[in-house]
Subunit: 533 residues, 2 copies
């Protein structure tokens, strides 16, 4: 990298480690720092009504003008104008787009009437040769009306999306537009805007088909403008300084990204890989252990971070083909690598556990107060999620930091104590490890939502055909690691020979493949009554 | 280029110059030689019924299986099986696809019924804030039904197309599939197959959006596997040998292509450019004049060939953005280039002229025979397209090669004489030049179809914003040049400052911008009564 590149790179404002707003998992697409900054800048100065009307007018031109090259200027005007709007005016404009540029419903009803009046083709497919010219003519008319109806059911704003997609920088702009739409929808549910979002998402999915994505190995020789994106977007284990970045691209490490020709110099998603002797148990040994082993001695490629860079592409699974293609690539270059595994966060664990502990403690309290009531039996909703020996150990050792009437209440108080104080006490670590590891295994293996793993990262890897191999105690002691999963991380393993079978059985039956070690944490009985709420 | 590359390149079977089957214009996408060869190979051995049924079964699996990674194998089976089918069985299979995998029309009618029963959203856009939660709920249901109806109107075979598009090599396969469909439709019109084609074309247009295309300068340093494609697909001025190819990539020449990441090592369309002092008048000086001038002395970039490589992408305008982007690129690298022009074929001229001459000669003959009939006035359809002095000159000099009762009949016979004998006679060249140049200008400037230039290449450049600058006598003396346009070629000029205005007025009013020199060929009177049949 030349001097200019370096100097640019060193001016990057690194993301703070205390990342309260950072993405919680490789695939949640929260607004990232860069995005937020730019929004703040824009909303600082609010727009005049005239500014809004100008952008609205350029949007109208972009939709209604003839499709010639004249459009370029109009589309530039529109996107520049849009970026200049503050949050409230963007919201207004997007509502105008969603409501005033959706379907022509009079035309739709007219076409439906026509369509219902026509005779559909018979399904007796094979004897087409015998049908006369006249019949082919009638059929043509039918297919034409059907196509017209299909087209009429496309909202008018499709034109804007299509035109932006063929416009330089337009795809990136559409992705920003959708990020705004998602952030509005997160605050309030507006049916027309949701319809707009769902349509735009469909379009983006087609345009960002894996066929149009290029897999690129990112190295220290890449332009600084690309590398600064890696620093800015790394969502799992933030990159703290230049040395850290260089290490992640150096010996014993790999970084691959998907690039789209229309969004140049910026991967849509990237994955970081460490070449190791064994599947790592803690993120510390991946990020900080020095020096790396000789690459020729590595037998394991460990995926330790996947970050997507475009909040506006949320819900579009770009990662699916990425992992498979990276495995193929690594295997081709380094046949001695036989294990492909991840060291992944469990972003949903603590949230699930704390709400479980809180609601059960409340139930217990309510139970307690109504003990003398008519119905003597306990609430059917109440469940002590602690084993008797865990309960006992917790009650015995809690003194000093947290108190409570039951093991669950004490545990809740311990886990929510300031600065994760429990992690500084060897005794508490010893006491809390068994229930936390067991409950984490239960969370990963048994807690589901619509038949799929409740944890988003688990769902991602399982649908890609991975199996759950191992959970690791105190594997990520960063603030984020402790907050999300009590410091526990999980290894998913991709076995090339099983990827397709596992993906298929997870997809069709929600079956989660896990190692015997992991399954041992959960009671065989419980294993069969999988939760699907 | 290394030795291996060269040896591969030298094994290429060059396309014959006597190219009866070659593309007639840069943008017609006839089946090319390569394609035809592979088809011949396949049809050599006809398939058993069992082979057909196997491919049909794999097609069915590819459409109806769950969307998981298992698909890869199925899609590979299907495409390999398809390529192995002979022409008749491909036709059968495509008909099965078109008829048995189109819409579920029962579902469509069901959804239409539901849809018509719902209240559409009011258009009074602005007061969305005031609408209650309940109303948003009703609206959501409406939008959902509308979306479901839109989805239901997509044929079932959409799934196959979508899956192939995300499959390695699938986009290329879809392009081959469409080439087959087009060749079947050229023989017989089958409504369901035409509907399939129109749907596939729509899909391919989205996937091949210019946003996903990369502009690549093709040089002698490119892999032989790419360069052989240039040799194989060059449709305008066939590349005769290795030296010819090297010259077209060498000093004073440029070659640019659009690459799609999913169709690797093969441009979808490419354009050849010569750097010259002046706008060339004949193709001979571009292809054969040696040595080229110093690049720093060039003031003109001449586009002398545009070829598209995929017959299956016929009708998808890939060239539009190409010319504009190439101009921008050349201008950036070489600011001393101020003129951007083409030297283009006029593929439709002779066809138009000969049919005009033939029909007018017939009319004249019929007129002759019925001279004594009741109605004394001539047929209103009859028109002597020759000027009196042209008629006289032709009648005076025709002796020896062709005879006829009128100038038009003699001209028809001269132009269709074996081996273009008229081009070997200095006298005939002199006599024919005035009417041919004048009628060529009339053809280019005035003959239209649905308000657009009748000539396909003219229509292409005009819609890109070019103007017609000059027609050149004996500019292409190749067999193809004489057959298509009597050896005449035309220069289109792109003036950066006018491109958008010209494209716009051609698009909206069919207005053709032409130089005064060119307009002088046609009578001012005729200029205003533009033909639109």
């Amino acid at each position: 990298m030349n001097k200019k590149g370096l100097s640019i790179l060193m001016r990057i404002r690194m993301r703070p480690n205390s990342a309260a707003k950072l993405s919680l998992s490789p695939l949640t697409n929260e607004l990232n720092q860069t995005q937020m900054n730019s929004q703040v800048n824009q909303s600082a100065s609010s727009n005049t009504e005239r500014e809004f009307e100008l952008v609205r007018a350029s949007m109208n031109s972009a939709i209604s003008m003839n499709k010639t090259e004249v459009l370029d200027a109009v589309l530039n005007d529109f996107s520049a104008g849009y970026f200049n709007l503050d949050h409230e005016n963007r919201r207004r404009l997007l509502l105008v787009l969603a409501k005033e540029y959706d379907l022509n419903r009079t035309q739709v009803r007219e076409l439906i009437k026509q369509y219902l009046g026509l005779e559909p083709p018979s399904v007796s497919g094979e004897n087409a040769q015998s049908s006369g010219l006249e019949e082919e003519g009638l059929l043509s008319a039918f297919y034409r009306t059907e196509r017209n109806l299909r087209h009429a059911l496309n909202p008018v704003y499709e034109v804007l999306f299509e035109r932006l997609n063929t416009h330089p920088g337009g795809l990136k702009f559409l992705s920003s537009l959708r990020a705004d739409i998602l952030s509005i929808l997160a605050e309030e549910n507006i049916a027309s805007l949701r319809a707009l979002d769902s349509y735009l998402k469909e379009k983006l999915s087609t345009w960002l088909s894996p066929a149009a994505l290029e897999l690129h190995q990112i190295t220290w020789d890449d332009p600084a403008s690309l590398l600064e994106k890696i620093v800015a977007y790394e969502a799992v284990h933030p990159i703290s300084n230049l040395l850290d970045l260089k290490r992640r691209l150096g010996v014993g490490r790999r970084c691959f990204g998907y690039l789209h020709p229309a969004i140049s110099g910026e991967p849509l998603i990237f994955i970081e890989v460490a070449l190791l002797k064994n599947v790592a148990q803690t993120i510390q040994e991946v990020l900080w252990d020095d020096p790396p082993i000789l690459e020729c001695e590595a037998t394991c490629a460990l995926f330790y971070s996947i970050s997507s860079t475009q909040p506006g592409l949320s819900g579009i699974n770009l990662g699916k083909f990425l992992i498979k293609r990276v495995i193929t690539l690594v295997k081709r270059d380094m046949p001695h690598i036989t294990t492909f595994a991840t060291l992944s966060p469990i972003p949903g664990f603590m949230q699930w556990l704390l709400s479980k502990l809180a609601s059960q403690s409340n139930l217990a309290e309510a139970e307690d107060m109504s003990q003398s009531s008519a119905n003597g039996s306990g609430s059917t909703f109440w469940e002590n999620i602690l084993e008797p020996e865990e309960e006992k150990a917790i009650m015995d050792s809690s003194a000093g930091i947290a108190a409570g009437k039951s093991g669950m209440e004490v545990m809740l108080n311990l886990l929510t104590s300031t600065n994760y104080e429990w992690t500084n006490s060897a005794e508490l670590l010893l006491v809390l490890k068994p229930p936390l590891m067991r409950l984490c295994a239960r969370f990963l293996l048994q807690e589901k939502k619509r038949g799929k793993a409740l944890d988003s990262v688990a769902n991602f890897h399982l649908q890609n055909g991975a199996m759950m191999e191992r959970i690791n105690w105190m594997a990520d002691r960063s603030e984020k690691g402790l907050r999300q999963s009590g410091g526990i991380m999980v290894n998913y393993v991709y076995r090339l020979e099983n990827i397709e079978e596992y993906a298929q059985s997870y997809f069709s039956k929600g079956h989660i493949h896990a190692s015997a070690d992991l399954r041992r944490y959960v009671k065989p009985l419980e294993e069969h009554e999988e939760r699907t709420d």
